[in-house]
Symmetry: C2
Subunit: 336 residues, 2 copies
DNA sequence: AACACGATGGCAACTGCTTGCCGCCCTCCG
DNA sequence: CGGAGGGCGGCAAGCAGTTGCCATCGTGTT
C-alpha cells in the first residue's frame, strides 16, 4: 500500500540511505557499480522519491509558478503552452495562477506559493515596480511582457513593432491614429503608447491616446465610440480582444472596415485570423516567450553560478501580421 | 532571512509546538484563549506553515492536478478557468498538466504527480477504462467529459444535445449527415457518434461516420474532403477547431456554407462566433464543468465521510448555439 | 469526599530525504 | 616503503511540521 522509501531501497541493496539518496540526486558522488545497483533495486521496488521530503531539506521543489494577469485572455494560452512544454522538458511542474487583473490577488497568490515553488513567471504583471523588486529579492522571478530594471525578463519588442505598425498605416495614407489604451497598471500599455507616439512623431502622423479600457471584447464598443470622436482614420487597439470588440461595434454602427476606418490589434490571437474583416495585428511567437522565460527562470532559480544571466532582459522580435482590417485612408473626409 | 517555524512561534507564545500546530490545523483542539494567543503571535512573527513539512506527515498537499488532453485546444480554457477559480476559493493550488493527446504522457504525468497532489482532474482522458480505474483506486480522481463506471465525473450532456443538433439539421431538410470523428481514444468521440447515430435513426435521417481525425484546424481539410465523398449535406465536426478547418477548406474549394452544405461543431469556442460563416455548435457552460469537477474532487479527496458522493456522475446540460453555418438543405442535388 | 471523565497542553516519536563530516582504503608519489 | 590525498560509503543530525499518548486540572456525580 504505502510506497517504498529510500530505507527500503537501502536495505534491499545493502547500502546506507545516504548512498541511495546520492545515487539519485548526486550521481557522480557514488561509484558506478554502486549507483547501478541502487538504481536497479529502486526500479524493482518501484521506488519514487517523495517530493515533499525532498523539498523539506533541499528547498528545491521542481515546481514553477506562472501568474497570468487574466486567464481569460487567449493571448496567454500560447505563452502558457510554451512555458508548460519547456518546464516539462526539465521535469518541472507548472502551477498556473490567475491574478484576475487585480494587484491584490496577484500579491496574495505569490506569497501563498512562495514556499512551494522554485520561482515565479509573472506575465503582464499589474504590480508596481517596487513590489516586484521586493519579491525578486527573495525569490527567483522572471517577468514576461514587462520590464523592470534589475529583474530578468522576456518581452516582445514593442518599439520596433509599433514603428512598423505606424509606418504601415502611414503608408496607407493615414495621418491620424488613435491608440485605444489598455489598463492603467499595464506596463505594456505604457510601452505601446510611448512607442506609437514616438513613431508617429518621427513619421509625421498625429497620434492620440484614448482610454484606458479593459482589454476585452465587451469593452470594444466604448472604445470604438470614443475613438470615433477623435476623427482618427486608424485605430490601434491595445490588444486583439479589444480590437475585435471595436470591429463588432463599428459593424453595428455601419462603419465599414477598412474602407472608412482601419483597425489593428496586438497579440495575433487565434480568432484574429477568423474574424471579419480579419485583423491586422502585431504578433510574435508567443510560445517562444514562454519557453525563453522558463529557461531564464530555471537558471535564476539554480543556486549554482547564477551570476551570468542574473538580470537578462530578453527582447524577442514581434511581427506585423497584415490582414484585412487595414486599408487606404479614406480620402476627403474624416471617419467620425 | 529564513522564515519563522512553529518552534519560533511556540517559544514566543510560551507553548509547545504541538499547540501551535493544532491552533492552525485543528483549532477546536485548543482552548479559545490559547488559540488566539498563538494566532496573534504567529501573525506578529509573520509565520506561515511550510507546506512540504505539512504534507510530509499529514499527506495533504492542498494541491489539485488538472490534466488536459491537449492544451492547445481553446475549449479547455473555460474549463481550466472554472476549475482554477473554484480551487482558489478553497485555497487549493491548481497544477496544470498537458497530456499532448498521448496516453503514455498522460500516464507518466499522473504518476509523476501522484505524490504531490491531493487528487486529479482528468479532462477528456485518452486512457483506457482499466487504467483509470486502477488510478482511481489509489487516489482521488474526477473525470471531466468522460464517463467511467465507478469514477465520479462531470460531463456535458451529449445525448440530448446531439438529438437537438440532428433535429435542427433535419428540420432544415437535411436527410443525410456525416460525423467527422475525433480521436479513436476519445471517449467523447464515441459518445457523440452513438448519440448522433441514435438520434438520426430515430428522426429518420441517415448518418455516417468518417475519420478519426485529430481535432485541429489543420486537419479540417482532410476531414472536409473525406466528408464530401459521402454526399452528406450536413457535416458534424467533432469540435469547433475541426469545424473551422472544414469551413476554411470548403471556402477554398468554393463550396458555399450553408448554401451548399451545412457545418456544425462542438464546444462553442470563442472563435466560433467570429469565423465566417459563424459556426452553429453545441456548447455549454464549460466554466461550470470545471467548477463542478473541482467540487467533486474536493470531497472525493476529503478523507472524512466521502461515501455520499463517492461515484457521482454529473451530467450538465449542453446548449445548441445556432449561427450561420447551418441552413436549408440544398434541393435537387448532392453536395459532392 | 472520593471518583470519573472531558478538556487541554506537552512530550516525543515520526514523516522521508539531504548533507556535513568522518573514516576507510586504495593509489600515486617521493 | 611511508605518507598524502582522493574516492567512496556510512553516520547522524537536521528539515518543519503532525499526532498518538500521557499528565494535569477542573468539574460533575454519587
Amino acid at each position: 500500500m504505502t510506497s517504498p522509501t529510500i530505507y527500503d531501497v537501502a536495505r534491499a541493496a545493502g547500502v546506507a540511505t545516504s548512498t541511495v539518496s546520492r545515487a539519485f540526486s548526486n550521481p557522480q558522488r557514488v561509484s558506478a557499480p554502486t549507483r547501478e545497483l541502487v538504481l536497479r533495486v529502486a526500479k524493482e521496488l518501484g521506488y519514487e522519491a517523495n517530493p515533499h521530503a525532498r523539498a523539506l531539506t533541499s528547498r528545491r521543489t521542481d515546481t514553477l509558478a506562472m501568474v497570468v494577469s487574466d486567464i481569460k485572455n487567449p493571448h496567454f494560452y500560447e505563452i502558457i503552452r510554451g512555458a508548460e512544454l519547456r518546464a516539462k522538458a526539465s521535469a518541472r511542474t507548472l502551477v498556473l495562477v490567475n491574478a484576475e487583473e487585480s494587484p491584490r490577488i496577484e500579491r496574495e497568490q505569490i506569497s501563498r506559493l512562495s514556499r512551494s515553488v522554485d520561482g515565479f513567471l509573472l506575465t503582464a504583471s499589474r504590480l508596481p515596480d517596487e513590489d516586484l523588486l521586493e519579491f525578486a529579492a527573495t525569490q527567483a522571478v522572471v517577468m514576461v511582457n514587462r520590464q523592470v530594471h534589475g529583474i530578468p525578463s522576456v518581452v516582445l519588442d514593442q518599439r520596433e513593432g509599433c514603428r512598423q505598425l505606424v509606418t504601415h498605416l502611414a503608408s496607407l495614407g493615414h495621418t491620424s491614429v488613435a491608440y485605444l489604451s489598455g489598463p492603467q497598471k499595464s506596463w505594456m500599455a505604457g510601452a505601446r503608447w510611448a512607442a506609437i507616439r514616438d513613431a508617429a512623431a518621427e513619421i509625421g502622423v498625429s497620434a492620440v491616446r484614448m482610454g484606458p479600457f479593459t482589454p476585452r471584447v465587451e469593452h470594444g464598443a466604448a472604445a470604438a465610440d470614443a475613438a470615433l470622436t477623435t476623427g482618427a482614420t486608424a485605430l490601434i487597439a491595445h490588444n486583439d480582444l479589444l480590437a475585435i470588440g471595436v470591429l463588432l461595434r463599428l459593424a453595428d454602427r455601419s462603419i465599414r472596415v477598412p474602407r472608412d476606418i482601419s483597425v489593428t490589434g496586438f497579440d495575433d490571437i487565434f480568432a484574429s485570423a477568423l474574424c471579419t474583416p480579419s485583423l491586422t495585428t502585431l504578433g510574435g511567437t508567443h510560445a517562444n516567450l514562454g519557453r525563453a522565460a522558463v529557461e531564464l527562470l530555471l537558471d535564476a532559480a539554480d543556486p549554482t553560478g547564477r551570476a551570468g544571466t542574473a538580470s537578462l532582459q530578453l527582447v524577442q522580435p514581434s511581427q506585423l501580421v497584415l490582414r484585412d482590417s487595414t486599408g487606404p485612408a479614406p480620402v476627403g473626409r474624416s471617419a467620425g
